[in-house]
């Protein structure tokens, strides 16, 4: 086996076959799920599933059927003719959860329905009752004035509003807000991954130097092979983690979609009722964006650019982090040498918002093409706007050139650095190592 691959394989297996890696892969999305989904699930479990006993005192004599039909399934509805006093007693004794009084004046456009209940029950319950009453009153009154079915249907409609970004492909992606959210998520994800995995490479180099095993390895393989093997192996660990998260994320999203809808707008519309839902379902509140549109935004083309940028950026930084690691004997000594590396990673984060707001400004175009900023800003810009193909190609080409330059410099520093002990290297030293053949 090729020695670089042999080293990459060992570096990879040494890290992936650990409990820590598995925990990291599982815990991060799990944390996300817990953060977003758990409250929603808990909320729906505690309030929505318990059966409610609802007694309706229909003084109009015509609303009961319509209200009962519109009430959510968890409402056990009964008609009552008992006086209000006795209903109050039943509510207090917990023989009844809700007493709903519908005065006859409701059908004349006056008066108000009253909901009697113990404390609690929450807004959801009140919303459900209110929606049911409103729908019933409207339907009965419309029937009274002889409105045609078409009019009733029109009134029952809940038109949705979505924001649309026009692209050259003619496809309409959903929403500026969605783009901003995804833009930030993507930007920070690349930033964190490059940083974490770059540092992992550096730590690996320092460890080998501290262990002194590097001398043994250097008597078996060329330093460049060791450097590349390490960078590639740890990069593969990063890619494995990202792919694992992607798969888990897709699964989570599939679960998250309906739950989010539940969370934001009461019961999900029954199948067949359509996206618009219906009056009967109580009308789901609108999300600021369609969860399904996330999928539409993550096109294969975009994902390709994303992965290439992440890989290019990782390789660029990992090579330089390795060079820094080779020049020091312990991690704490690396801080000062790392500064010129961390700055260009942090800068793009500052430009995330301007980039998403004005993706076609000159500054945005330049930063999205210029390495190493492009590693973060090109994918982010691709979310906000349609990046011309030539710009993407140029950015990726420049990134490749930057990587080759970085690995060249890194290899020269690394070759000398791994054998140096006893003295803290300065930038002057590093530069001298680069120059000497």
């Amino acid at each position: 086996m090729n020695k670089t691959l042999l080293i990459a394989r060992s570096e990879y297996l040494r890290r992936v076959l650990t409990k820590g890696f598995l925990v990291g892969v599982l815990l991060a999305p799990l944390g996300l799920v817990l953060l977003f989904v758990l409250p929603a699930v808990l909320g729906s479990l505690s309030s929505d599933d318990a059966e409610r006993r609802v007694a309706i005192l229909d003084e109009s004599g015509r609303l009961y059927e319509a209200v009962a039909a519109a009430a959510p399934e968890r409402f056990a509805v009964e008609r009552t003719a008992a006086p209000l006093d006795s209903l109050r007693v039943r509510v207090l004794d917990e023989r009844l959860d809700v007493a709903l009084v519908l005065p006859a004046s409701l059908l004349e456009g006056r008066g108000e329905a009253s909901v009697y209940g113990r404390s609690g029950g929450g807004l959801t319950q009140l919303d459900d009752v209110r929606d049911a009453v409103r729908g019933a009153v409207r339907d009965v009154r419309l029937a009274d004035v002889g409105a045609p079915d078409e009019v009733q249907a029109v009134l029952a409609e809940r038109p949705r509003v979505r924001s649309v970004t026009v692209t050259e492909d003619g496809d309409a992606a959903d929403g500026a807000l969605l783009a901003t959210i995804i833009g930030f998520v993507v930007g920070f994800a690349i930033y964190l991954l490059m940083f974490i995995y770059g540092q992992l490479v550096m730590r690996g180099v320092i460890e080998e130097k501290q262990n002194r095993i590097v001398e043994v390895i250097a008597s078996s393989v060329r330093p460049f092979e060791l450097l590349m093997g390490k960078v590639l192996g740890i990069g593969a660990v990063g890619l494995t983690q990202v792919v694992a998260w992607g798969v888990l994320g897709a699964g989570v999203l599939a679960v998250l979609g309906p739950v989010l809808a539940l969370f934001a707008g009461g019961p999900a519309p029954p199948p067949g009722a359509g996206v618009a839902g219906g009056v009967a379902a109580g009308g789901a509140a609108e999300l600021p964006f369609d969860v399904g549109a996330i999928g539409a935004l993550l096109t294969p083309g975009f994902l390709t650019v994303l992965v290439l940028c992440f890989l290019g950026g990782y390789l660029f930084y990992a090579a330089l982090f390795a060079a820094v690691g080779s020049a020091v004997e312990q991690e704490s000594d690396a801080q000062s040498l790392m500064l010129p590396l961390t700055l260009p990673i942090i800068v793009p984060i500052l430009f995330l918002q301007p980039m998403l707001d004005q993706p076609d400004s000159t500054l945005s175009v330049v930063l999205s093409i210029l390495p190493p900023f492009s590693t973060i800003l090109l994918p982010v810009r691709a979310i906000a706007t349609d990046v011309p193909v030539w710009q993407t190609a140029l950015a990726l080409a420049l990134l490749a050139v930057a990587f080759l330059g970085a690995i060249w410099v890194a290899a020269r520093v690394y070759r000398v650095g791994i054998l140096m002990y006893g003295k803290k290297a300065t930038f002057g030293d590093l530069w001298r190592w680069v120059r000497t053949a």
Binding site: M1, K3, S219
Partner: protein
Amino acid sequence: MALALRLDHVTKRYGQTLAVDGVSFTAEPGRLFGLLGPNGAGKSSTIRMITYITTPDAGAVTLGGVEAGPETQRRMGYLPEERGLYKKMKVGEQLVYLAQLKGMERVAAERSVRAWLDRFGASEWYGKAVDELSKGMQQKVQFVSTVAHDPDLCIFDEPFSGLDPINADVLQETIVELRERGKTVLFASHRMEQVERLCDDLCLISQGRVVLRGTVTEVKARYGRDTVTVEFGGADGWLDRLVGGGAVRVLTRAAGRAELRLAGASPNDVLAAALAGGADVTQFGVHAPPLTEIFRTAVAEGVQGSRVVSSPTLDAETAPPPRVAG
């Protein structure tokens, strides 16, 4: 296959410092070659060029006629003075990996590693992480990593440092056995009694230059029989008088035993002085100086010798770090 290691006028410069200055020697197969020198003499710099970790600025390093490079790296095993292993990695996995880096196939590497661990009575370490082992055990593991790929050239830099006597014996037996199997063994040390006991040939370097080279017997013969060992009972005042007069130099001295290097006096003078001083001499011998003493003399001569070239000024920024040389 047996391959000779040849260094031909090898020179290595670190900035302004001449770490290795025209060093030449040949280590023959089936012989134990001692590379000696005080700390900072250029031993490690030399070894690094032999192992192709660095390359000489001038001169050539060849193994079996092949210039040092990836090809020769496969055929050598190197035990550095500063030991090191991946601490979290399992012993077996690690040794197989290191052997694979030397170009061995996985299956063959596993077989060889198991055989060597068996030999050291360490089979049960195979699945253990290195940092679960004691220092001495780690040393053995490191030794296995040096020889598991059956190298033609074995380089041991201070192999016995930190080993208890029992383990040192085991190691010594193994090294001697490697020699008997026709391997070329390079042994770097500044522990002269070990070199004297083990090595066939030696090369002494000081300040980057060869100051002494040859077989151990030859080198010792070159320095003549100018050392006496006296074992005696009774008074030892005569010894102080003898030393005070400058006729001899004490190499070692203990109660009832003294090793003296003659400086003007003859062996007879020493014996006469001892008898005259009332000592009860039980044994008296004349022999070549111990290697330690030869080493000291040669280094001192080397320093005084032909260092006409302006002594290298130490450029703080490019000087090799302390441990490079030594």
